[in-house]
Symmetry: C2
Subunit: 194 residues, 2 copies
């Protein structure tokens, strides 16, 4: 049994490949990114990739596993110890945005509309939803005015953040401001003190 994604002995080249693949998937999209380009990016022969990954699909999945694992870990760590409420949500948004805009292309590569034909589509959607559950919980924990649509609030928040890499060109300092803007714009409206 030679199932892929088997950790075995973590080789550096595997991580290199994931990073290179992320660069190409981000730059060209899944369909237009070629195995040959990815191989060239790490100075490897095309066929050698197939020692590490069973297919282009599997490599695409691995990029998402790596990226989503990292952003999930980072966001979870950032809210640890903060009591439920707006401060906790604010911390999560700041962490999410800093990861997304921090410069590592892997996060831009995974925050895109998924290609239709790809076999691993459902798995990736599942992983994404698992991450978004963090924000679902955060919003559920807020004390909000009666009648507030929490689902819309959560999706609005995620949309505002995830769309940002299509326009964001600034330096790091702006990221914190952006997160603050996004959350406080909502917070002032919806906060229930008492």
């Amino acid at each position: 049994m030679t199932t892929d994604t088997a950790p075995k002995h973590a080789s550096n080249r595997r991580d290199e490949l994931i990073a290179a693949a992320a660069t190409c998937f981000d730059r060209d999209g899944y369909g237009a990114a070629s195995i040959r380009d990815i191989a060239a990016e790490v100075g490897m022969q095309t066929a050698s990739i197939y020692y590490h990954f069973a297919s282009k699909d599997a490599l695409f999945l691995a990029v998402h596993e790596e990226g989503l694992h990292r952003i999930m870990t980072g966001t979870s760590a950032a809210i640890e110890g903060i009591p439920p409420g707006w401060d906790r949500l604010q911390a999560a948004c700041t962490a999410h945005l800093e990861t997304l805009l921090g410069g590592d292309v892997i996060f831009k590569a995974i925050m895109r509309p998924l290609p239709a034909g790809v076999e691993v589509r459902e798995k990736i959607i599942e992983m994404r939803e698992s991450y978004e559950q963090v924000f679902r919980d955060l919003v559920d924990d807020l004390d909000l005015p009666a009648g507030t649509n929490r689902r819309h609030l959560r999706l609005m928040l995620l949309g505002a953040m995830n769309w940002s890499f299509t326009w964001f060109r600034g330096r790091r300092p702006e990221i914190g401001d952006l997160a603050t803007s996004i959350v406080t714009n909502l917070r002032v409206a919806l906060e229930v003190d008492g």
Copy 2:
């Protein structure tokens, strides 16, 4: 023989091709969508496409021209006559979302990260910015608390809306609610009465 020298022989097949291309670009992304698929979608031979469009790039551009023209026209019409302020912004957001989520794939096809290699990239970016100028004006016209970052507010708004097609699966009735949620969440926070 009305106004001659106007070769606007609006052939139906050209519009058909744009619609079919939008379907394929939306489903597969620019790189993975093939000229053959698009041709098959309208029951045409592959080569026949090149009578109407000089290249795949040109077809991609035409899809964006058509889609952006239509969403721009619709949004502009929706805010006509409404005085500057939150009501006007609300109307624009409702129109934008109803167009985006109304079911025509062309709008999903043009609201995506642009592929890198494509030659018409700059032209498309220019057209997009021309449309976003509408929202820039709307936000500039708002009476906001001092210190509010209007740029962040606009990008937050556009992000919340443009990301929605990645998750939206509902029927039309929810669209209006969503637009209302998005705008009022901000409006309550930022409205300056007086």
